[in-house]
């Protein structure tokens, strides 16, 4: 911010100059034949992309879901078995809930995977936490999908 700071000729303001060089960032490890198989794919890039694409879809699906279930028409008081039966009579809302279930669970599981990778430092801790996470996420997806597809309004 001081007036003595020299700025480059172009209009981009830089904190670095000849006397104050930018810190050197080590290039990432080159991929060689010895690179483990798990780091050879672009899995993390696809995970990153999935978070953004699923996020956009989830904004629409989840906010629509909240608006219908919690805001409009008396809020949560109207919810009950009859309300669920009425909505799942329509393939449109079945598909809505199914897509929302899959995207939300995968989006959330990938987010938690990132958090586990960031904070669990011991290999064993990460292994167990991720095992628990994938079990819970798989269970949620399978259970939710079965419930949507096998729903029976005349169960009684």
């Amino acid at each position: 911010m001081s007036a003595e700071t020299t700025t480059p000729a172009n209009d981009a303001v830089s904190a670095y100059d000849v006397d104050h060089p930018a810190p050197v960032i080590e290039p990432p490890r080159a991929r060689t034949r010895k690179t483990p198989k798990t780091t050879r794919t672009n899995f993390e890039m696809y995970g990153w992309l999935f978070m953004r694409l699923s996020g956009i879809v989830l904004v629409v699906l989840v906010l629509g879901h909240l608006l219908i279930q919690l805001v409009l028409d008396g809020g949560v008081t109207k919810i009950g078995f009859a309300f669920v039966a009425g909505r799942w009579a329509s393939p449109f809302w079945q598909a809505w809930d199914l897509i929302m279930l899959w995207l939300a669970t995968l989006h959330g599981a990938n987010g938690l995977r990132t958090i586990i990778n960031d904070y669990a430092e011991r290999d064993n801790t990460r292994l167990w936490l991720k095992g628990l996470l994938y079990t819970a996420a798989g269970f949620t997806i399978v259970l939710g999908t079965l419930v949507i597809f096998t729903f029976d309004p005349n169960i009684r």
Partner: protein, 126 residues
């Protein structure tokens, strides 16, 4: 100015922290929510009994908190996408965060009565 090595990333860091915290909360709720909805396969009574707890004042207030978490996560998620994919995103990240906060406040005020109306009626009479 305090000296030290603590990273002070200002708005960018705090929005990242809030994004993580709200994300974890929402994920745990999702798990519970799929379980409670699964009760429609047990019996209408079992489902209605559990949904009745969602209509109590305390849980109703928690629903408002859930909406707060989801709205922030959704709006800030769109901001993250803009930072990543829009060429001017990083430059305007701070302005976008305050826009997110502004829209969040408006939506929270607007949904206060619709979401909490039956609790307000129950506690303060019709």
């Amino acid at each position: 100015m305090p000296a030290g090595t603590l990273y002070r990333g200002r708005e960018g860091m705090w929005s990242w922290v809030a994004h993580r915290v709200t994300g974890v909360l929402i994920f745990f709720f999702l798990f519970v929510h799929v379980l409670d909805t699964s009760l429609v396969r047990v019996s209408p009574e079992a489902y209605d009994d559990v949904v009745a707890t969602y209509k109590t004042p305390l849980v109703n207030l928690m629903e408002y908190g859930l909406v707060a978490a989801i709205l922030f996560h959704a709006l800030n998620g769109l901001r993250v996408i803009a930072v990543d994919f829009w060429s001017k995103g990083p430059k305007y990240q701070r302005q976008m965060l305050w826009s997110v906060v502004g829209i969040w406040v408006v939506l929270m005020l607007g949904s206060f009565y619709p979401i909490l109306q039956h609790t307000l009626r129950e506690l303060f009479g019709s």
